[in-house]
């Protein structure tokens, strides 16, 4: 069969299977990300049916998937929101980073994977999934809740921190000497800070580059700019994903709203491909051996997320039940963890990182979806209330008048 014909058949079948899985996910109220990862694992390396013709195509599509994922994330935030979150929730963000990054780093060192893998795994366990959690908050009807701004602020802080973390990671995974590494990191951080400053001060100028209507030139223009900046960012080792994120932040107002409307279907397609491709390139045989460490890591980091999330809510003056809700809903890790693992493994750091991250993301999303519903259960509420009634119990904030 002709190469292109085979590609059409393989990609078509894959998309069809993804659509079925997406429907299953919706039926059970979970994010489809774990199912996409599993689908990828079933095929490809060590899977049932290897996909050969479409490998190269899927690799490119998944690269575009990461870029679009991040660009759309950037479009959702305005520079002002980033800035005010930075002002109000700085401390909660730092507590979140320390508590959740350390377990990942510790496990990597324990497994003897070396310091570079430790930095990567720290990122994997640190960042909660904005996509999964925003959807959870909507589904659970919690957008009006008073703890929700605190939860969103933590997500914003993490996403913003990624703009600095990813360039640092891409610099150190290349395995340069300490002096060279320091220069690369300094350049990366400088570039990110510069683009952020431009986005904050002169975002409207960039938005003016594009007319908000009609849709087609806007789609091509924004997609072009995103890919161009992503490529240039990659060239100066700032990581393509961060370039795309910054473009998303720089756009604002009606242009941002219309751009995100036209880009969302593209994002859905390519981001789903990214998750499948990550599963494809992950050795499914290694997944089983990574199940135990991943479970342990998931248990520990769901607990640390609970603590850091509850802390963020408490500093915002939220009561005990609200602190539980904030802590538990932050449990799911997702797109960023996979992006980080992909970046590290792609650069030749410990290949077992990919199956570990896959299993870890799977467990945290499934457990997180279930756990986030706990505080709404009657028995949970009455248990918290009983505890509150007993004087001198820890966990009672009393911060609210």
């Amino acid at each position: 069969m002709h190469e292109t014909t085979l590609l059409l058949i393989e990609v078509g079948a894959l998309l069809f299977a993804m659509s079925l899985l997406g429907r299953v996910a919706i039926r059970f109220g979970i994010s489809p990300i774990p199912l996409y990862l599993l689908l990828g694992l079933a095929f490809g390396q060590g899977g049932i049916v290897p996909l050969e013709a479409s490998e190269e195509f899927l690799a490119t599509a998944s690269e575009i998937g990461i870029i679009l994922l991040l660009a759309l994330l950037g479009l959702e935030y305005t520079a002002q929101e980033l800035f005010s979150s930075l002002m109000t929730s700085r401390r909660a963000g730092i507590v979140d980073a320390i508590l959740n990054a350390l377990p990942g780093a510790a496990l990597a060192l324990l497994l003897g994977w070396g310091p570079v893998a430790a930095v990567a795994l720290a990122g994997v366990t640190w960042v909660s999934s904005s996509g999964v959690i925003a959807k959870l908050l909507r589904d659970l009807g919690r957008l009006s809740n008073r703890e929700t701004p605190a939860v969103l602020a933590v997500l914003v802080m993490e996403d913003l921190a990624m703009a600095f973390y990813l360039p640092v990671l891409s610099a150190i995974v290349v395995g340069v000497s300490l002096a060279q590494g320091a220069v690369a990191v300094a350049v990366a951080v400088g570039v990110v800070a510069l683009i952020l400053w431009v986005a904050l001060r002169h975002g409207h100028v960039i938005s003016r580059l594009f007319p908000a209507d009609p849709a087609e030139p806007l789609l091509l223009g924004v997609l072009g700019l995103v890919m161009l900046v992503a490529g240039l960012a990659q060239e100066v080792s700032v990581s393509a994903a961060v370039g795309a994120f910054l473009v998303g932040i720089a756009l604002s107002g009606r242009v941002a709203a219309n751009a995100s409307a036209v880009l969302t279907p593209l994002r859905d397609l390519f981001a789903a491909t990214f998750f499948v491709f990550f599963g494809l390139t992950t050795d499914s045989a290694a997944l089983l051996s990574m199940l135990l460490p991943a479970s342990l890591l998931a248990v520990v980091t769901i607990l640390t997320k609970l603590v850091s999330g509850a802390y963020a809510a408490r500093t915002a003056g939220i009561g005990t039940l609200g602190q539980w809700r904030a802590g538990l809903v932050l449990a799911p890790r997702g797109e960023f963890s996979i992006v980080i693992a992909g970046l590290a493994v792609g650069a030749g750091v410990e290949p077992a990182l990919a199956p570990l991250a896959t299993a870890y993301v799977l467990i945290t999303i499934l457990a997180g979806t279930f756990l986030s519903r706990l505080p709404d259960a009657a028995w949970f509420r009455s248990a918290v209330r009983r505890r509150r009634a007993t004087p001198g119990q820890p966990g009672l904030s009393g911060a609210r008048p």
């Binding site: 957008l143 009006s144 008073r146 969103l152 809700r325 509420r381």
Partner: protein, 167 residues
């Protein structure tokens, strides 16, 4: 006095929109979440857990506008009625237009209410909405409630006039 001490709090919801909160005198919290895409949710907070929204009701543009009108109208009414406490000898009355009124479907000017009774018609409430300071050309409809200000006799006069016409 109303209007004093009411605080509406605005909170950013990054990536979603913003939320306005109002805490009532009784300690209950009501919120309106405004999404970026123009949707809004009206949230009613739990009594036990002041941080949680017990129920959240999505409203479209027309529903939100209608609700705002109803609330605005009732506020207008309570302000009008509170007038009587402050001004000695002057009263406000809401008079439902009798179904057999001779002025049904006639312009307000036809009643010559001010000349005949020395009371003023300051508003008409129709379908939950207030028509403040109606002009003589405004036509009276079935189900209207007329808000009049005047002395006791003046208001009785307006009631009589609307029910039976000029004697």
């Amino acid at each position: 006095m109303s209007g004093v001490g009411i605080r509406i709090e605005k909170v950013d919801l990054p990536g979603i929109g913003f939320r306005h909160d109002l805490v009532t005198e009784g300690g209950r919290r009501i919120s309106v979440v405004s999404h970026r895409d123009g949707e809004r949710d009206l949230g009613v907070f739990d009594d036990d857990d002041p941080d949680a929204c017990r129920d959240s009701i999505p409203l479209n543009d027309d529903e939100a506008a209608a609700l705002a009108d109803v609330l605005g109208a009732s506020v207008m009414m309570s302000r009008l009625t509170s007038l009587s406490d402050e001004t000695a000898g002057l009263y406000t009355e809401q008079i439902a237009l009798p179904t057999d009124s001779p002025y049904l479907n006639h312009p307000l000017g036809a009643t010559k209410a001010r000349t005949r009774t020395h009371a003023s018609i300051v508003a008409i409430v129709r379908d939950g909405q207030v028509i403040p300071s109606p002009t003589p050309a405004d036509v009276l409809r079935a189900g209207d409630v007329i808000v009049a200000v005047g002395t006791r006799e003046g208001l009785d006069g307006v009631s009589n006039l609307l029910a039976h016409g000029p004697d």
